[in-house]
Subunit: 249 residues, 2 copies
């Protein structure tokens, strides 16, 4: 195993609105795809409510077992935005006005519009490092390996680019998908044999339903293209033998 | 606090495809909305990979702290479907052919089509209780308070109805949404005061962007309609005062 090839991360979605089913989380996918592209694998996602003790406990648990932790949600101006104060407590740091964040927000809003609610967004754990927000001003922040991002998907997306130089990834995780006009049970045995022959690869099998027809996508994931190619060849061999059609998806 | 008013649940999404960002989980929302309607609140969601030890540890942790646990994914015919065997180990139960599930599957498939892959779906923890599947035959199951459902959203959805008589909920969790043409910082202080006056209600504030305009949805959640009404009145009062427009969403 080469250095940095097993860099992992956890994602912590903070928000009652996800737990109630009112809002569909899409930030997990956004963060995970971006992390994969810089060689970081997501090992765990948790969704928790806006409850201080729960946030503190979960952050303190995840930051010990994961190289990086990304939180989303709870850094806005309203009473239910308690991520920054909870992270301060998790790290035993003062929760205070961050001078640089305050200046950024002051410059962002028109004179007279930088009200109390907006000023709240400058409160952070002492010595937090800012994560700049090109969309709506209010920065995110990180303390050690915990990166706190907003919950609004479009804003979160625009902030990921600015994180690149704060994070050390591994080899990008590559994947190859083979989609088939078949059902899982037809290929289960052969696919299991291929997995046994390629123990260090991740092979997933995912049924789909498209244009009125059933199909299965086989997804091979590895950091090494040559291993993916070898495994892919073995899959195509048994597919040929079984006369199963490969389809576009 | 009346009996059964605080019934909680955890959702455990099992699947590498969600962690990699390849597939967008929608089962959380489906399960959460259904649980709310029968008076059960989701306290936690976890997404974990198809790794046996992780599944065992997480299930054993969640089933102790939550009244109900719902797992999704990993009960199909392929090698990466390891939920049933992992649950067996979590409960120290034999992993074996479930006679009733075998009969259901045998009857579902045409003669000669009930192959090894499909037979795998009859393997379950000993004495599992079946959860019937009106869509595609293969049943889910529960052991004690852990309910194992498939990952395919349409199939999962069709199986929830059959769970109703196995689950004892509390009072349905009611919610009321007030959507406003404003930004969060304009209402943050007043909303925080309302929350302070209504400590046993959950008040959430969620910014939105619709038809080119910013807005905020305020969501009030409680088991008691009268409390929601009282709180809603207080919010409408300060909105009137601030001359903020209420909008449809």
């Amino acid at each position: 195993m080469t250095k940095n090839t097993k860099v992992n991360a956890a994602i912590l979605i903070i928000g009652n609105e996800i737990l109630s089913g009112r809002t569909q989380d899409t930030n997990t996918g956004t963060i995970a795809l971006w992390l994969n592209s810089i060689g970081i694998k997501v090992n765990e996602v948790r969704v928790i409510p806006d409850i201080e003790d729960t946030i503190i406990d979960t952050v303190n648990n995840l930051r010990k077992v994961s190289k990086y932790v990304f939180t989303t949600g709870g850094i806005g101006p309203t009473h239910d935005d308690i991520t920054a104060q909870s992270i301060s407590k998790a790290f035993n740091l003062e929760y205070e006005i961050h001078v640089e964040a305050f200046k950024i927000l002051e410059a962002y809003y028109k004179v007279g519009e930088f009200n109390e609610g907006r000023q709240k967004m400058a409160w952070m754990p002492r010595n937090a490092h800012l994560i700049l927000n090109p969309t709506s001003g209010a920065p995110g922040f990180n303390i050690e390996n915990v990166f706190c991002l907003p919950g609004v998907p479009s804003i979160l997306k625009s902030m990921l680019g600015g994180l690149q130089n704060k994070i050390v990834g591994g080899k990008p995780i590559l994947s190859h998908t083979i989609s088939l006009r078949t059902v899982e049970s037809e290929i289960a045995k052969s696919l299991s044999d291929v997995q046994d022959n390629n123990k260090d690869l991740e092979i997933g099998s995912y049924p789909f339903f498209q244009a009125g027809k059933l199909g299965v996508s086989i997804v091979i994931r590895s950091e090494e293209q040559s291993k993916i190619n070898k495994c892919s060849k073995q899959i195509l061999d048994f597919i040929d033998e079984k006369k199963i059609e490969v389809v576009e998806r």
